[in-house]
Assembly symmetry: C2
Homo-oligomer: 347 residues x 2
């Protein structure tokens, strides 16, 4: 039987907070009627908004604070001043066991710093990773790390592979996700030592519930060649933002193209129904739900520019992960790989 | 007065070689009537093709060889077996001073290995870099290194900045290009030590003919925030391929969208004139001409999938760089920075 999930929501994070957040959880609530929300933020602003959604009144509890983390606050500042903010208190409620997962559309660097400091990494994980779904030609894949760690060694990459596969099993429902390490295509170079060493470990880990297929290149991210793309946080952050920038470039050029003459404008009117499916597929709101994996507790990041629909889809992912207890899944897989190492060591 | 340029052409490299190559140089020849071509490859195939372009007969000389570098040849194999190939002999002619620049649409890894081995890096440059123009919202920018070096230190990055700026001054004709280092956006991390150290050196190098503006993120590549994006070869290769993959994803989804109904098909017919300008802007043939900078001699790489028009535009870049003597420009800028260091050291 599905467990009833409690979500700690930072009502003050995101470009259109708190309206967007409250509308988002209201939308999610209609789909997941057993979910409860702890809503952290300024009661004077939040209470009237919740009153607009009768389905929320019994399902939500406001925890009042006027402190909040601004979008330009440095992570170091957030660590000093943000513990009593709506973001900090939401994370604290996960630590205390009052909520199953914390969700914020606020400042990513601050959220990462606070989550790492307050929850600490789980046993067997050296560094947490930021993971997010991405649109591909085949549907969706995930990539990690997207910026939590600039430099990664081979063990970090192996741990990311395990965490990424656990995410895909939980959120996408695939029993044996395909996993690859992001590498460069120029043959002679064959990538960095850390990547080759991680590949060696993963190739020998056939007992894990994932299918390691070797290396992919940057262009294979968008084709959806594999379910999980594993890389260090520097490369992952650059690749994610390069993909976002390129998608915007093409769609901006497309808009210009449609505006260029009467004929193209008419063409747009006729084609717009079809074009909306393209827009839907590329819309970050439909692939919303970055997660910090590897901590003693679940913390999710929604896009800062998300709309209510986008925030609701982040809530849906949060429920999935909490119900499937992704933290335990990761711990089990880590045990597998450690146990296998012990056996090899004993021979 | 413009110098007459001689280009060493590998006629056997590229998906549609040698036809595409010969047609490409014929197109370029009509625009640059004083250019001469040394055409390396199988005379039996090349001679009849050249006969089809009367303007080429007096402007080209065939240097016969049946050896060629296949697209799947490893760089190490190319170093052993490729010296007498059409690619190897084209590079050798640059070394011997018979040609001003070598141009190939063949195997990138092999071309890089042969060029580096045969020409060696120029004084003051520790590692060559692969640079290429990219389409942006503002027009074109360049990025380097795109895959020649997996690991780079701060001096490598500074040298790349100088070489990239020299490329933009030569090929785009800008007197003081804007230059930035590619970095991640998560503030706390502030990127790698090597990147921060390179930024410190570039900030102090105001005497160089470039405008160093600090850091950019992945999404700023496509917006064309700066003229020159500097990064290590691993990140650059991933970013370039991620951008190519994303552009293809969006255009593939666009094609699907236009095929989805009678109305969208009709819309496409009306809009296609405008859409062709989008296609032109994103077409790699219109941004063709990767160059290995930092060697004692110029070697250019055309896209393997280039058509004749694309190859002709690579020839045009090659002529630009050879006429402006980009190798000397880079040497002068390196002198500037070394000289400034000496002066600081003497104080």
């Amino acid at each position: 039987m599905a467990k009833n999930i409690t979500i700690a929501v930072d009502a003050m994070g995101g470009d259109r907070a708190p309206h967007m957040v409250i509308e988002g959880i209201a939308q999610a609530r209609t789909l997941f009627p057993n979910t409860k929300f702890l809503v952290f933020g300024d009661e004077a602003q939040i209470k009237p908004l919740i009153a607009g959604f009768p389905e929320l009144t019994s399902a939500s509890e406001i925890i009042h604070t006027t402190d909040y983390v601004s979008s330009d606050m440095q992570p170091s500042q957030a660590l000093r001043k943000g513990r009593q903010s709506s973001m900090g208190l939401a994370i604290q409620s996960v630590k205390d066991g009052a909520a199953d997962v914390a969700l914020s559309a606020g400042n990513t660097g601050a959220l990462m710093a606070l989550a790492k400091f307050m929850l600490r990494t789980m046993p067997g994980i050296d560094r947490p990773a930021l993971i997010s779904p991405l649109p591909t030609l085949r549907g969706e894949s995930v990539m990690l790390d997207l910026g939590a760690n600039v430099e990664c060694d081979s063990n970090n990459l192996v741990q990311f592979a395990i965490m990424g596969a656990a995410y895909v099993r939980t959120v996408f429902g695939l029993s044996r996700p395909t996993v690859a390490l992001l590498n460069v295509g120029v043959e002679e170079l064959k990538g960095k030592d850390s990547i080759r060493a991680a590949a060696d470990i993963l190739r020998e880990s056939r007992h894990l519930p994932l299918d390691f297929v070797g290396f992919v290149e940057g262009n294979n991210i968008a084709t959806g060649e594999v379910d999980v793309v594993v890389t260090d946080g520097f490369t992952g952050n650059v690749a994610l933002k390069t993909a976002e920038g390129t998608a915007r470039l093409v769609t901006d050029l497309l808009k210009r193209a449609f505006q260029s003459s009467l004929s193209t404008k008419l063409g747009y009117l006729l084609a717009r129904h079809g074009l909306s499916s393209l827009r839907d597929h590329m819309d970050p709101n439909n692939h919303n739900g970055g997660v910090f994996l590897g901590l003693n507790g679940l913390v999710m990041k929604s896009h800062g520019g998300a709309n209510a629909h986008g925030f609701a889809s982040a809530v849906a992912s949060a429920i999935d992960m909490a119900q499937n207890d992704i933290t335990r899944l990761i711990a089990d897989d880590l045990n597998e790989i450690t146990h296998a190492d012990d056996q090899r060591g004993a021979i």
